[in-house]
Symmetry: C2
Subunit: 346 residues, 2 copies
Amino acid sequence: MQLQNDLFLRAARGEQTERTPVWLMRQAGRILPEYRAVRNSLSGFIELVRTPEHAAEVTIQPVDLLGVDAAIIFSDILVIPEAMGLPYEMIEKRGPYFPKTVESEADLNKLLGEEAADNLTYVYDAISLTKKNLNGRVPLIGFAGAPFTIFAYMIEGSGSKTFSKARRIFYQNPSFAENFLEKITAATIAYLKNQIRAGADLVQIFDSWAGILPPAQYERFSLKYIDQICNAITEVPVTVFAKGAYFARQAMGKLNCQVVGLDWNMDIAESRKLIGENKVLQGNLDPCALYGSYQSIEDQTKAMIDAFGNHKHIANLGHGVYPDTDPDKVKYFIQTVKKYSQKNAK
Amino acid sequence: MQLQNDLFLRAARGEQTERTPVWLMRQAGRILPEYRAVRNSLSGFIELVRTPEHAAEVTIQPVDLLGVDAAIIFSDILVIPEAMGLPYEMIEKRGPYFPKTVESEADLNKLLGEEAADNLTYVYDAISLTKKNLNGRVPLIGFAGAPFTIFAYMIEGSGSKTFSKARRIFYQNPSFAENFLEKITAATIAYLKNQIRAGADLVQIFDSWAGILPPAQYERFSLKYIDQICNAITEVPVTVFAKGAYFARQAMGKLNCQVVGLDWNMDIAESRKLIGENKVLQGNLDPCALYGSYQSIEDQTKAMIDAFGNHKHIANLGHGVYPDTDPDKVKYFIQTVKKYSQKNAK
């Protein structure tokens, strides 16, 4: 099917576009009353993730309601641990929780690698259905967590300020960590390839906890596996978003990916210099900026567009949109990007 | 009183020392069974902070038990909000909690500024008593939170992954934020000066949540007030530790302080280049490294010493020592710094 609005994809490929495309991380869910209505009709987050019709519905909501230039499949990075054999729960206001964690070589051996991807049919079905219902309006983004971030959750069992239980393994038993990361990487590559077969037009890798590693360990225990994923995915463009990994920006420039996401701490000009001219940059307005007045949002957004320039940029926030953000403010951000970057592109 | 071991102070002043001095953030408390024995005899953390005899006792424990080159007064950065009029609680395993927060201009007007420092006699008494009982063995460090970090807690009411309630004020009502930050700064300067009068040999400013701000906001809402504090404190050397503020390293080099703390994400050579040759650098071993074997700790510590060189460095971790660290491993880190940097200095 021919896309009616392929701005996002053309920009991701590095082509000059008539204006800057825009979408938001966490756009599907959280902020929209229409999302909460769907979710409240179900037993919870995980049922929503597992039910293709509902996942597709909330994936498309922001396209209709906010006017974004891309949809991102409603899912969670933690479906991979579950498919590998480690189920998670989602505890309201606390976040993910794993009743069992991986504590030994024996635990690791019980987990599935590449074959885990076969357990995620509900995601592929959700993608196929979303593609059908989007009917070519905008491209659809698939995604997965970076192996390090997935590893961190599978060892730690929940979010953590320090992830010290997971990170100590890099000092205590690095080869165990490497075996584990390889297994997650194999599952992730198969999973992303299936997402692409089901219709994902681009895939994004989220390294949510990247910022907690010392630079040398980041290179060895995270970037290496992201690199393997980037090399394996040749079918569609790949975006890498490693929150907090400012120290790896130069290395990001050498990844076999098309787009690099920036968080709101990362200076735009400096990031461009470090990452190089070849990559498309995505981001990076502070999610808190959307709590400001309309005028303040407009000023902040214009300043961001000016700093990125009108080429090789996909507008986004520097992190997922915060749950209590007013959807009208989100719309204003999107409209400002569209209008201002168009004017600017001339 | 003449100090018997003034390595830490001489290094902080930028003098060449016979070996690298070493201490640990959070060395007083947490990891030592001797600390837990004192704490368990009391109603909790806050009673310990408020009782000079006990605070002095646990401050001196790591000097005796671990062999560090400096003591740091056992206290909390949140005594300032309390002294200003906003009491905190410390909830076991959850962290600090403020029953009331600052929500309006009226709330702010009710808070004390400079005069808040008069309410912290128990800290000054703890410092005097510690100095007496240390009997010149090592220098004593006083400390305070950076105004932004204190502001963040006073608005948010607890720790937070995003501090979005506090940070949105920078977009919504920046002049309110500035008035608030000025008041905290006035209280902090008076507080630190009283600590110095009571005997603190150096003061450290902890900007624990620095890493959550976009660079331009960091400059305006945090660094500006740290700068005011640095300019006001002329009696003793000042250390600034802004965790996560990698983007502000160049600006840190221009502060009127002697020592800049590095967290474990910050590349040592790059930080030296950005901060410049004039500052003493403090840090920055990953706290997780102390979970490794003795051999691994030795290797990591030596690599750190080599990277900093044998001048203008105070060895430390890149963050507070984690609570479940084995004290014997901490001792081994300290011994390795002492032996290896001495050998190295020759």
